[in-house]
Symmetry: C2
Subunit: 207 residues, 2 copies
């Protein structure tokens, strides 16, 4: 497949959210202009983004909401459910484990790990916190696609490597550390400090 920009994927996801919203309201058809407003871009951008994957619209008419929704879901790989494990049973891990957005969007949390004996064995809803020592041993039974990393910075690289050894092919990293992983493993960083400091910068330099 043709090289696709990171930013394009990000926007496709936003378009999908918008489409699901307007689909739920019963609207049948949408123009690139409307989609652009809902996604916070321009109509040309919407058309360019979609054109990477094909021609889904009808000239003079716009896009079928139902069809475009299905296309985007398929492009983004949402036609199946993904198996997710959370590594690190601290505050962030706990919040994520409870977050309904994961299962709603097709991401099932199938395990939670920690190294702290005080936490291992704790009941978290349907799950029990497992010993991170069994990460690799669990891999064939649990078969996780994605690891959510929420451990102290000092443990992040090591745990990422172990997750990869356990067969994980994507990492959602909440730790403010630059992970080094094989190129075939996808990593997304979520760094609250960066977001806060970007706001701080904006407030300082215009406010």
């Amino acid at each position: 497949m043709k090289r696709v920009a990171e930013s394009t994927i990000r926007r496709l996801s936003l378009y999908l959210t918008a489409l699901e919203e307007i689909g739920a309201r019963g609207t049948r058809t949408v123009s690139s202009e409307e989609l652009a407003q809902l996604g916070g871009t321009t109509s040309a951008q919407v058309r360019k983004d979609l054109s990477v994957f094909g021609s889904f619209g009808k000239r003079g008419l716009g896009y079928s909401v139902a069809e475009l929704t299905a296309r985007l879901r398929s492009i983004l790989g949402l036609g199946r459910r993904w198996r997710v494990c959370i590594i690190g049973a601290g505050k962030v891990g706990a919040a994520l484990a409870q977050y309904p957005g994961f299962p709603e969007r097709g991401f099932d949390i199938v395990a939670v790990y920690d190294t702290d004996p005080a936490r291992i064995g704790e009941r978290w809803g349907d799950l029990k916190v497992r010993d991170a020592a069994s990460l690799e041993a669990d891999s064939s039974a649990l078969n996780c696609d994605i690891a959510v990393l929420a451990v102290p910075a000092s443990a992040a690289q090591r745990m990422a490597e172990r997750a990869v050894a356990a067969g994980v092919r994507a990492i959602l990293n909440f730790v403010p550390v630059q992970l080094s992983v094989p190129r075939n493993v996808a990593v997304r960083n979520v760094n609250m400090a960066v977001e806060l400091e970007a706001l701080s910068f904006a407030l300082t330099n215009r406010g």
Copy 2:
């Protein structure tokens, strides 16, 4: 001030995290190459990023860790504490209210709001959940700089407008909705669905 790219600010924040780390280890001096590795970029990028704000290094020697840390903190506006309110006392709001990273980084949570009578009045540590109806009335007493938005999608735009009316000049938006606010209000979006779907895409198109 010269126009600064979003991406530059994001990286400055990463450099700062790295610098604090290596400063704590007692290292006195750092080269753009080392900083690049810790921040996940290239040495040329580090130098370009810094050059926007001045010349902080010594040719042949590198950068003083202490001085560069101080400079970055100043550039990012971290020389003071910021007042933050959380709007929406649901799961996400609760998790954020407890998150130690906020106060550690200089962001004090001074209020939590909700519209649900069942939640209003609840004790959250030092805070009590306040009625969102009093947002504007509270503004002179609380004087929030930043609002963290964690409400249902249908309420997001309305609450953002009320936060702005209450004097907030920056919004950290956890709701998957494109907010429309005056241009002098800074907005950062944190959208978990986008991150997950980007991983899903990556898994589908190479895995």
